[in-house]
């Protein structure tokens, strides 16, 4: 064993896994995770409250689930969590100066973005998936078990949409964190004044938001149009491809910026 480490390509999976695992631990092994989990479990708690206070059994619980998915998860929690975690993905190691250790090893700078991104997106997707599944099961417990099985497609579409949302917004906010010293304020403005408000404007204006494409994917859910009117939507396949391209573009920009940035 050469103590200096393996060659660049040979060592790639080892350092990749090390940084992915480190990033997951950074998310889950901090005191802040309790707060993060608490907020994520507000939708399941609301579901319990709704069920226990319903005078009569309410029909079509899946419409309520879809509305939760769109409003609570997609437009609020996904944006909020991606803003907080995504903007600190590169900004925090730069600020705390631990980036020095990462850039002094065998990893090229673009790799640091890639591995941290994978770790962070995986961590958030896991957190959100548990919360969404819990909400689904709580609401579904109101009706017969066959309803849970027959509405599984709604759950899967929401999980896919939220996963796409996490992937694209983490890429966006991590770009802010790489480019700016104080990314949170810019992120808040972008998240809640651009993404949330613009998406409800007319015609083509909404198409400059990523939320529009996420909503368009979610609209393929057969129940959503019954719950909320989303107006004109783009095709879900096109929306998915568009968001994937955006992820690649945003990550590439972050990599480019970090590869030229001084680490003080």
């Amino acid at each position: 064993m050469d103590a200096k480490g393996r060659g660049y390509m040979e060592g790639l999976p080892f350092r990749g896994l090390a940084l992915v695992v480190r990033t997951v631990k950074d998310v889950y092994l901090t005191k802040g995770v309790l707060l993060a989990i608490f907020f994520l479990f507000i939708p399941p708690l609301i579901s319990i409250y709704t069920l226990t206070n319903a005078q009569e059994g309410f029909k079509d619980w899946w419409n309520l689930f879809s509305a939760f998915g769109l409003i609570l998860y997609l437009q609020l929690l996904v944006l909020l969590y991606c803003l907080v975690y995504g903007s600190s993905m590169i900004n925090e190691p730069l600020d705390s100066r631990t980036m020095t250790y990462l850039t002094m090893r065998s990893a090229k700078r673009f790799e640091i973005i890639l591995w941290k991104y994978i770790g962070l997106v995986f961590s958030l997707q896991l957190m959100f998936s548990l919360s969404i599944i819990a909400t689904y099961l709580i609401l579904g417990s109101h009706g017969p078990i066959s309803d849970i099985r027959s509405n599984l497609d709604i759950l899967l579409i929401l999980l896919f949409t939220v996963d796409m949302g996490i992937a694209v917004y983490v890429a966006l906010f991590s770009l802010f964190g790489t480019a700016f010293k104080h990314p949170l304020m810019i992120g808040i403005l972008f998240a809640f004044f651009w993404e949330v408000i613009m998406v409800y404007l007319e015609a083509n204006v909404k198409k400059v938001t990523m939320m529009h494409y996420l909503q368009s994917i979610f609209r393929s859910n057969r129940t959503i149009s019954e719950a909320i009117d989303l107006g004109d939507a783009t095709g879900s396949v096109f929306s998915t491809i568009f968001l994937l391209v955006m992820i690649i573009l945003l990550l590439s920009l972050s990599m480019l910026i970090l590869s030229r940035k001084d680490v003080n």
Binding site: M1, A3, F14, L19, T100
Partner: protein, 308 residues
């Protein structure tokens, strides 16, 4: 400019209007080199450039003949101990060092084994499973040193490695550095603890205001300064008699009584003339001397002289 392990060629670094380094050129040879200068002189900027953390605004910099910016090939040969107390959250000493080894492409088992070997070198095995945030300042310095050593680098770059260490920790680190030097490692060490650097380094580089002030062996630097004023301290029960006599030696600028009852301080502008004349004087007049030395004959004095 070839042959050194580090070649810095007309390198400048601008932070907006502030200049971190100004047309800095130097070749750092094998062995141990001390980098000295006051706060804000540009020492850390230079070390960060050598380790590829900061990109020069102008000029070229090579380590082992390689460009260092975003170059894993160069990183493999270097170990860097930064000045700042920066650590990842929720890590023990062992996890910290092991993680750094894994980032160099080692498997978890290999990294663990290398980390323990490095931690043994800095004498922290007993505390390696404790959280770093519970470490004393000296222990944190040593664990940073362990992460720099973990992949057996050819060149060690240490930014203020003795800062905050207690006397015992300081001796341990210095002994370790001597061992590494003996084993053929090249070391660049920056510090403002001058008397300790003086004991460690063969050659020094003095930096001030982003510029190279002097480079070479401490004695070579001293010899190159013909008119470097020197304070000579003499201890003798006859200090008043000696004080009157040395006033006649050419080059003597001042004579004063020291704080101790037998101490005499003489400031001379030409040390060789003083020592030659004083030696004759002692022989002829049979003067009683307890000791003779120079509080100026160290880097601190040279440094102050050079940068002011």
């Amino acid at each position: 400019m070839t042959g050194g392990i580090v070649e810095v060629d007309s390198v400048s670094k601008f932070y907006g209007k502030v200049m971190g380094l100004n047309e800095f050129s130097a070749t750092i040879d094998k062995g141990m080199t001390g980098l000295l200068g006051p706060n804000g002189a540009g020492k850390s900027t230079l070390l960060k450039m050598i380790t590829g953390q900061i990109k020069p605004s102008k000029g070229n910099l090579k380590v082992f003949g390689m460009k260092v910016w975003d170059n894993p090939g160069a990183n493999r040969l270097m170990g860097y101990c930064p000045e700042q107390d920066a650590f990842f959250k929720n890590m023990t000493g062992l996890q910290f060092v092991s993680f750094n080894a894994r980032m160099s492409g080692h498997s978890p088992a290999e990294a663990n084994s290398l980390a323990k070997a490095a931690i043994r070198k800095v004498d922290l095995l007993g505390d390696m499973n404790r959280s770093i945030f519970g470490y004393s300042k000296g222990m944190r310095q040593r664990i940073k040193l362990a992460q720099a050593l973990v992949c057996d680098p050819d060149l060690l770059i240490l930014d203020e490695p003795l800062a905050g260490t207690d006397p015992i920790g300081r001796v341990k680190i210095m002994d370790l550095l001597f061992d590494l030097k003996r084993s053929g490692k090249d070391i660049i060490v920056s510090s403002h603890v001058l008397h300790e650097i003086e004991r460690m380094t063969e050659s020094i580089i003095l930096v001030n205001k982003g510029k190279l002030v002097a480079k070479g062996n401490i004695h070579e630097i001293r010899e190159s300064m013909d008119r470097f004023p020197l304070t000579v301290r003499i201890r003798s029960p006859e200090r008043k008699r000696i004080g009157k006599m040395v006033m006649d030696i050419p080059g003597v600028r001042s004579v004063s009584l020291g704080d101790d009852s037998d101490e005499l301080l003489i400031r001379t502008g030409h040390p060789p003339t003083f020592f030659s004349n004083f030696q004759d004087m002692v022989m002829q007049k049979e003067l009683q001397l307890t000791s003779i030395d120079s509080p100026d004959d160290n880097l601190d004095a040279i440094f102050k002289y050079l940068v002011t």
